[in-house]
Symmetry: C2
Subunit: 326 residues, 2 copies
């Protein structure tokens, strides 16, 4: 099996690449190292176990075609993974890196006759809805540019699948946490670790701390993705991937302070129900479709967060670590 992993140096991608290489796939990684890190897969590259191409899915169609040549299956994880929109920032980032990037991957697949794709989508496509847990048949109503771009990617994949006879699996991921750091973007665990190392007396929390979301550990996420790729019967498979519970930001703050051995930390809360513009403050993914197919998360959301915190603290990371999003 020859596989291409775009974004294969990112936190989810690197975990996936290690698993694919271990099972004997011939793996090519294409990553622009903007948010991914060479160190995550350096061992495999230097051992000659995988091929690495430093290139962007968006601006390098030649490199992408070279990476795509002879490939049986594409895992498309390359994306801007920072869900936050900073007021005043350009609004084009997610549209370009996620949606147009995905279009370039689909086009390269079409040009090269590659017909199998797994795409890392996100629970952020749903937006804030009354339904809980949220199943796959909930229509997308994203409130972030990140979620909108991923919803657009799913639509494009759906059309390409039909027109060019592809077989595609879309996994809508919960918040994924794990040990590998990333170079850009802050996520809740890394944000708390960094702030508490700077000032162990108090912790400023984005929003009112009551935000509560589904989390999944990166190792379990990759396990689920491999399972969906092998087991889903649909030519256009769409599966939520997450634990069927949630953990609050307030609880994550407690877990991080515990793991750092701190006591008496004063938590300072914001007033907003959301952590940032475009945040979906409370959601639980419905993973029953995936459960019925035969896969279930072993860790609860809180256990996944706890394990990631301990991995991060143990690795003595100083910044940027903690959670990853394709």
């Amino acid at each position: 099996m020859k596989t291409l992993v775009t974004g294969g140096a990112g936190c989810i991608g690197a975990e996936l690449v290690h698993r694919l290489a271990a099972r004997g796939d011939r793996v090519t990684v294409l990553d622009n190292l903007t948010s991914g890190r060479y160190e995550h897969i350096a061992g495999l590259i230097e051992a000659g176990a995988i091929e690495f191409i430093e290139a962007d899915v968006l601006g390098s169609p030649g490199e992408l075609d070279r990476a795509m040549s002879g490939v049986d299956l594409v895992w498309h994880l390359a994306a801007n993974g920072d869900v936050k929109y900073q007021p005043g920032a350009p609004t084009s980032r997610d549209l370009e890196q996620n949606l147009l990037g995905t279009y370039q991957v689909l086009e390269s697949m079409r040009r090269n006759g590659v017909r199998r794709l797994v795409f890392a989508s996100t629970s952020a496509i749903y937006g804030p809805v009354d339904r809980s847990p949220i199943p796959e048949d909930q229509p997308p109503a994203p409130v972030s540019l990140y979620g909108a771009s991923k919803a657009g990617c799913e639509a494009l994949i759906s059309a390409f699948r039909n027109l060019f006879d592809m077989r595609c699996a879309v996994v809508r991921l919960a918040n994924i946490v794990g040990p590998r750091s990333r170079k850009s973007g802050q996520t809740v665990i890394s944000d708390f670790v960094r702030k508490l190392r700077e000032n162990p007396a108090e912790l400023q929390i984005l929003g009112n701390g009551l935000q509560a979301k589904s989390y999944l550990h990166c190792a379990e996420c990759v396990d689920a993705m491999l399972f969906v790729e092998e087991s889903a019967p649909e030519a256009m498979a769409v599966y939520n991937v997450g634990a069927d519970d949630s953990v609050s930001v307030r609880r994550i703050a407690e877990l991080v302070t515990e793991a750092l051995g701190l006591t008496g930390v004063r938590f300072l809360y914001g007033e907003s129900e959301t952590g940032w513009p475009g945040d979906v403050p409370r959601f639980i993914l419905d993973a029953r479709k995936l459960n019925r197919l035969g896969w279930r998360a072993k860790l609860t959301s809180e256990e996944a967060v706890r394990r990631a915190i301990h991995e991060i603290v143990a690795m003595q990371e100083n910044s940027g670590a903690g959670a990853c999003r394709p």
Copy 2:
């Protein structure tokens, strides 16, 4: 009320512009005249009743900003309206003209503090589904690049609405038919009229003729759009707009031959269930949400098609006339 209509020289756009001007709106039309026609609104322009800017939403941000200045409400209809994908053609047309074009409109709205939008979407976002009729809560699963691009537009609008405090209405239109011709793209009525004028003895039909879809007359479509804009209570309103029945391609062929006064025409059918790659051969839109809000189509799908055929034939159009799609 100052309004901007993008695509205001198209078949739906021109009908809308006449209605808006008649009710006293100050109307600016921005159209690149690729598929729209100057003649459709020439009377209003030359009478000084509306302002016309010949420009593209995609490549002319300066012109778009000029058109957007001081606007209260945007009707965004500019798009590639040809749902057909020709094998071998570039796959980028809908992505660029529809999705990136819509992004430029949203960006110009944001830059200019314009907060109200009506967007012409399409039933093609749903793809072929078992459910009939199809309500608005059916998740998109497009099989055409056209449908995918419009689903992507809806997702972008959803995010912009939240982040920049807009008020948006998305109307998902059935097949719209009416008297105004367009310069590019063939649709079922114009295709049949043209073919029968070339050869009144036989008619080649795309697909097996059993395709059956919801149709709506252009005048009723504009009526519904005006109603949704005025009446929908939601900040992000999504409404199907169509008659709650369908008419078959075979029946349309009979109606066209009748209208042309032909008898004994031999119908030649294809073998495929679909008329072209990406066609959704059978669907009925569920318009009950719009009915409950207080609007209902007066014409059935067949009556709408019949009226459009007679208008087209009466206007002695020779080509390109018959149906329009934003």
